[in-house]
């Protein structure tokens, strides 16, 4: 009966919500990325077609895919649904983000969790429990907990691998079901990340991802991600819903549905403070 504390901790609970959040790209100091971001915005805003002579502009498509939810700051309303063999649960939450380092999540429903909030500022994480009006600090070492019970990986959380940089990709052709273009990504040697291979299917116009299959480093299919419910949010036309289905777990599914998103909106610094954590409704 001996256990190690650093194994199997559930700190990822509210963290896994942060995974799907719109987060900012690195600051303008990294010129190239700044240009990309701007480029993506321009592209989506201007509605420039990704097709050139009926063939997909691969590089542009991949860039757009990467920057789909990126923004310097955002305010959004979303529903996270986790499905398990026995039951399913949906959390509705309001989210504020600024850059890559700051995020505030406040849960709106169900009633039992209402008012529970999580604040992340750089390496620090705090959790507010309305039942006792107390804030708890979760030390950084516990932030990196095993994601037991969640379908997401720490790769998703950290999100420091870039598809365009760490993978070589090529267009493999058109697909029928679902209809679109298939792009194969293969990890470059030395790339840091969980996935050896990705099969991404984007819509006919190249703008919306439809389905992605993730293969682990042994070439086994590990999970599938679906996107649907395309809507316009603040001038961007993007899927409102993401569904993640792990491969070897029966009846497991994680869904994120965006109800509202405001991109690049001015979010005051004071939002990401402990007092804000305790008061936001």
């Amino acid at each position: 009966m001996r256990y190690r504390p650093c194994r199997l901790l559930p700190a990822g609970i509210l963290l896994f919500t942060l995974v799907f959040l719109p987060t900012g790209a690195p600051t303008a100091a990294e010129g190239e990325c700044g240009a990309d971001r701007k480029g993506a915005e321009e592209m989506s805003l201007a509605g420039t077609s990704l097709l050139k002579d009926g063939v997909l502009d691969l590089e542009a498509t991949v860039k757009r895919f990467e920057n789909l939810y990126r923004s310097t700051s955002s305010i959004s309303l979303a529903e996270l649904t986790v499905t398990r063999p026995r039951r399913e649960k949906t959390l509705r939450m309001k989210v504020w983000t600024k850059g890559e380092e700051k995020a505030l999540v406040v849960i709106d429903s169900p009633a039992r969790e209402k008012g529970t909030a999580t604040l992340k500022v750089e390496r620090n994480l705090w959790n507010y429990l309305p039942r006792i009006h107390r804030t708890i600090r979760i030390p950084p070492s516990m932030m990196l907990a095993s994601w037991m019970g969640s379908d997401l990986t720490n790769d998703d959380l950290v999100r420091d691998s870039s598809y365009s940089e760490d993978y070589t990709y090529q267009l493999t052709g058109r697909t029928e079901d679902p209809s679109g273009w298939e792009i194969q990504f293969e990890a470059k040697p030395g790339a840091v990340g969980l996935w050896e291979r990705l099969e991404l299917i984007v819509s006919d116009d190249g703008e919306i991802p439809v389905r992605a299959r993730y293969y682990d480093r042994k070439g086994r299919l590990a999970r599938t991600m679906h996107w649907d419910k395309v809507r316009e949010f603040g001038g961007r036309r993007i899927p409102a819903r993401m569904i993640l289905i792990p491969e070897d777990e029966e009846g497991h599914k994680t869904e994120m549905l965006y109800l509202e998103i405001e991109f690049d909106v001015d979010v005051p610094e004071s939002t990401f403070s402990l007092s804000s954590l305790e008061q936001k409704r």
Binding site: S141, T153, V192, R217
Partner: protein, 411 residues
Amino acid sequence: MIGRVSGTYAFRSLFRHPRRSILSMVGVGIGCAMGLLATSWTGGAGEMQIRAASESGAGHIRVVPAGWMRTRENSLRLVAWEQTLEEVRSVPGVEAVAMRSRASGLLAFGNRTVGVEITGVEPDAEMRSNRIVRLGSLRGRYLSAGDRGKVVIGRQIATRLDVDVDDDLYVTLAGRDEIRSAMLTIVGIIETGSRDVDASICHVNLGDVEELTGYKGPAEISILLEHHGLIAAAQKELARKLGGRNEVITWEDVNPALAANVRGDRAFMDVLVFIVVVVVGLGVAGAQLTAVLERRREFAVLSALGMKGGQVVGLVMLEALLIGLGGAAVSLLLGGPIAYWLATRGVSIAHMMGDEYSIADVLLDPIIYGTFGIWLVWYALGVSVTATVAASIYPAWLATRAQPADAMRMV
């Protein structure tokens, strides 16, 4: 005058009754030998556990950053580690030195994740000083000096992640300034047979931890001494050399659970050894009493001849002393070889322990080597002589009470 008379008589008395003398000495000797063996065994059993703890990574002594004992924080690092390392090497009695650092993180492959404590090591030094690495059955190979981006994990971890040698693991950990991740290729999988140990092994090169966490230098220097008896001296010497920079702790501080276990076992066995010594002492007393009782006529004769009470007492005590010395010699003759055999060959308790060779996260080498040394001689002399002489006090007093008239009486 007393001395000379008593002394001469005592000697001659012993030689004149060889059977009695030898019997006494053998009796004392056997009992004493039992005490010797019991103590040697106890020492050996305790030593086996200390060996297990110190050679399973704790070291005999360890240099850690100030404050580590209280908080056990992974992020603490040694101050001026190069200089400290030199000072460590200059301490007499040092046999092996291993530097390490640790970081908590997550290992992932595909959908599976496992939380681990990653240990950064110097592969060669680790091989020498950590038996878990040396004796565990290894699939693949252990780390080599120049390896970067390579990892050796325990079998439990490999099973949980469903990976094998040559697979690439994705590691994430909280570094100094930020969360960092990297890929680590598995070069070896260790299986020790102990589930706990196998679930905790995750070794990378020291340099990798440095790079991943951003903290420079090692977090600890573990030191194996030639013999655990040198611990106290080495600790003091090293602390003096370090002069307040960093802290020197012992394996007991590192693994207090095992230390308590060793102490407890020791205490229990000490009680048993004490009982053995008491039994020996009382047995000797009985034999001495018997001897004196049977020699009542002899003492009566001596008294009739004019020997004074003090001389008789001196006589009996001296005889006792000689028997004691003889008994010590016998016990060394009998017990010595057995203790030697115990110390060199050792007794393997492997068949008693079965497969599980680990207790409290240390790997046991299930052979008990009895302790052996010059202490045996002092012990034999001490127990033997003390027992016989102390046991002869009452008989000596009795002997003085022998009336000359008893000499004439027939028993």
